[in-house]
């Protein structure tokens, strides 16, 4: 048997050191989820959520039909003991709302279609996926797990049970391949995995297997996290892998995870101590418009939306302050941004930068 064949057939159980000859799970990169360990938090570590909100990188708190629920979402250092995780994402309710018609709320992760072509969805060879994660909640009971595919037209519903309150538990869920509908090979949103935390009665389905429905759904007996203020639901160690077997979590370095997140979002931010983040160099086309070339950390998924915080400046013959972004000429490779500033001089060169204030930042958002 060749060395290559050996490697192809070997799966190494890292937790026990046992090496078994099986084709699954595969070696190499296994986890399709970016930031499954909740370690990257470019936007911040605490969020008041009352509408769709990206929180920790790649993790969206998502609403359906204007649900009235509100919560605080935080990055926490509370993790399962001995699991090797340093961070978790925590949702804590800040109001009480009864399940209502078709209103929903949950935690969502989504993928580009071009990253999931190996699943062969829409063919008889469609691959299974296995989702594993650690969860801890103040409320025991049944929770749904929804996977939406093919541009929000296909759904499969699964469930898991929180057995003990306020205790970390690891869950594993098999997601059968969808043989009926494919995934477009592009950079658009394709598969979404949603952990519902609040679901109205009109969106409760007992259907098993893939079916045609693009709505935000959950399963019978879905826990309503929002039946009390201060209820909590926490998650970390999220791994989605091809095949029918859950392997141990694939820990990746912070730098590797950060770079992967930056395809979707990055922030140049000021910080006390090491201060001023450069945004880009350029020149004044008139007294109050400064054009800056902005190199990105990585190529982005699409042309990004830009936004700024407060206390940004241009270093030129003086320090005119930046008040707004006047125009965005960026694409997915790099950006040219036209800032509106206080008065300077046409033709002068300079560079835009943040201050060392925590509110001083420049964001680029190409999320799904």
């Amino acid at each position: 048997m060749s060395r290559a064949r050996d490697l192809a057939n070997v799966a190494d159980d890292v937790s026990t050191g046992t090496v078994v000859t099986t084709a699954s799970p595969s070696l190499g990169r296994r986890n399709l989820i970016i930031n499954g360990a909740m370690q990257v938090a470019q936007r911040g570590t605490s969020f008041s959520v009352s509408g769709n909100s990206y929180t920790l990188d790649r993790w969206l708190l998502t609403y359906g039909s204007s649900a009235a629920v509100t919560s605080t979402v935080t990055q926490e250092s509370d993790t399962p003991t001995g699991s090797g995780f340093a961070s978790s994402l925590k949702v804590e309710t800040t109001n009480t709302v009864a399940p209502d018609t078709n209103k929903n709320f949950g935690c969502q992760y989504s993928f580009e279609g071009q990253d999931l072509q190996m699943l062969s969805y829409g063919t008889s060879s469609a691959k299974n996926l296995t989702l594993s994660f650690w969860v801890k909640s103040s409320k025991t009971g049944t929770y749904g797990l929804q996977v939406l595919s093919n541009g929000k037209t296909r759904t499969i519903l699964k469930s898991y049970t929180v057995d003990s309150a306020n205790t970390w538990e690891q869950k594993t869920i098999l997601i059968e391949g969808d043989t009926s509908s494919g995934i477009d090979n592009n950079n658009a949103q394709s598969l979404r995995v949603i952990w519902p935390l609040y679901t109205g009665p009109d969106d409760i389905y007992a259907t098993t297997g893939w079916f045609a429905n693009g709505a935000f759904l959950s399963v019978p007996d879905q826990v309503n996290l929002f039946d009390a203020t201060g209820a909590t639901w926490q998650i970390t160690g999220v791994q989605l892998e091809v095949g029918s077997v859950a392997s141990t979590y694939e820990h990746r370095s912070y730098g590797e995870e950060l770079a992967a997140c930056q395809r979707y979002y990055w922030r140049f931010a000021g910080s006390s101590g090491n201060g001023y983040a450069g945004i880009g160099s350029g020149g004044f086309i008139n007294a109050t418009l400064f054009n800056a070339f902005v190199p990105y950390p990585v190529e982005m998924r699409a042309s990004p939306t830009f936004s700024i915080g407060t206390s940004l400046y241009v270093v030129t013959s003086g320090f005119p302050s930046i008040s707004s972004i006047n125009a965005n000429f960026g694409n997915q490779h790099s950006g040219r941004v036209q800032f509106t500033t206080t008065s300077s001089t046409a033709g002068f060169g300079g560079s835009a930068h943040t201050s060392n204030a925590s509110t001083s930042f420049f964001d680029a958002d190409a999320e799904l």
Binding site: P304, S307, S324, N326, V337
Partner: protein
């Protein structure tokens, strides 16, 4: 899923060509500069709301 709350939208122009290059929008209470890229989620939602008659993009300041 929930739609974005877009309270204003106005085109920005290239000072050299005079062409529209992006949209200044207030989305969920945040001032954003949105590129004219259908793959950008903010632009896609702006255009969806325009087509639904829920939003009008103002012309750029002359």
């Amino acid at each position: 899923m929930e739609q974005m709350n877009i309270t204003s939208a106005q085109y920005s122009v290239d000072n050299v060509t005079g062409n529209n290059v992006s949209i200044q929008a207030t989305i969920d209470g945040v001032q954003m500069s949105v590129p004219l890229d259908p793959a950008n989620r903010h632009y896609a939602e702006i255009m969806r709301q325009v087509e639904a008659g829920e939003l009008v993009i103002q012309d750029a300041d002359s």
